[in-house]
């Protein structure tokens, strides 16, 4: 979700309010006074609602920056190791734009010789649903297929329904 969606949210709010105002101006007859008082109450609630939405948007912005500017490469994958999110340091480490990493199995960034070992670790890490940290070493393919010895530090996110947990990865050169 982007700033666009929250803009749409405010827009919908405004549209509904304007619509009601129009209907009331036109068709409420003798009930006008009462309904106008109702609209005023609604406007006050609406203002509060807008402030809450502003707070939520600000919170999202703040925490997305904590992800984006984490000092080490930070990736979030599904339980099979397919990248969902990657931060700046991850893009810098691998030498590709962050958006090109989304949807890619992280194993494809691992040097071929270590891929089987990587997958075995990945399976064990995604089975660690108690929040325990999994740590192992491997070799990534960096810019120009250069070899990057790294340490993977992986923790599964808690999931309410016992389903497949996304994995948080911090990757640091060793």
């Amino acid at each position: 979700m982007s700033g666009n969606d929250s803009f749409e949210l405010f827009n919908s709010v405004k549209t509904v309010r304007d619509l009601l105002q129009r209907k009331l101006d036109g068709g409420a007859g003798h009930a006008q006074g009462e309904l106008e008082a109702g609209l005023q109450e609604i406007e006050a609630l609406w203002e509060e609602l807008r402030q809450r939405a502003d707070e939520l948007t600000a919170e999202r912005q703040r925490y997305s920056e904590f992800f984006e500017y984490a000092p080490d490469a930070y990736l979030v994958t599904d339980s099979h190791g397919t990248v969902r999110d990657a931060n700046r340091a991850a893009a810098e480490l691998l030498g590709v734009p962050a958006r090109t990493l989304a949807g890619k199995p992280l194993a494809t960034c691992v040097h071929e010789d270590g891929r089987r070992d990587f997958r075995a670790h990945l399976v064990r890490a995604s089975a660690q649903t108690d929040g325990e940290l999994s740590v192992w070493r491997g070799v990534l393919l960096g810019p120009g297929d250069g070899l990057l010895p790294v340490q993977f530090r992986v923790r599964a996110l808690p999931v309410a329904d016992g389903g497949l947990a996304p994995l948080c990865w911090l990757v640091r050169r060793t």
């Binding site: 919908s12 068709g27 409420a28 009930a31 609602l49 939520l56 919170e59 904590f66 500017y69 080490d72």
Partner: protein, 176 residues
């Protein structure tokens, strides 16, 4: 945090909607006005569903990033430019041995053993003076209770949209 916000948001949305419906239905209107008002209410219902969907999305998206921070594999703290802790994740509370509320506002350097503190602050000041946007160095960490341990401090600055530093992101990792 986010969950509470979202709950509040949806409760408010429902309160507003029901209030409006109540106001409109309690009035006896002529048939033409009644029809107009009913149509307005139907439109309101549709928009309300959309609005609820959007606010849920906003809240979920926010919650997702909160979790990325909170469950980051390593101790993660965010400080202001003066090095005072503003945010700390779970791993940080475990490593430093204090609850989040007790960590906030403490200078991060108070968790460095005294004999290492000048070196730590020298690194830190160097980062600020030279406007470096990332750095890493080792120092001896002193948790609130227990023995000191060697740790790697990595930091990266969150740029402000105009200039200067919006905050400093620190990962702290014990060195085996």
């Amino acid at each position: 945090m986010s969950g509470a916000h979202s709950q509040w948001l949806l409760t408010t949305v429902n309160a507003v909607r029901e209030l409006m419906i109540g106001r409109l239905q309690s009035r006896s209107l002529d048939p033409a006005s009644q029809r107009d008002v009913e149509m307005a209410l139907e439109e309101l219902d549709v928009m309300w569903e959309e609005l609820q969907g959007q606010s849920e999305l906003l809240s979920r998206e926010s919650q997702r990033y909160v979790e990325f921070f909170d469950f980051a594999p390593d101790a993660y703290v965010v400080t202001d430019a003066g090095g005072n802790i503003r945010e700390a994740n779970r791993a940080a509370t475990e490593l430093l041995g204090l609850e989040r509320a007790s960590l906030v506002h403490h200078p991060l350097s108070t968790f460095v053993v005294e004999s290492d503190r000048v070196a730590f602050l020298t690194h830190f000041v160097g980062v600020l003076v030279n406007k470096v946007d990332r750095a890493a160095w080792e120092a001896c960490l002193q948790p609130a209770a227990g023995k000191p341990l060697r740790a790697l401090f990595s930091l990266r600055a969150i740029p402000l949209s105009k200039s200067g530093v919006g905050g400093l992101c620190w990962l702290i990792r014990p060195i085996p």
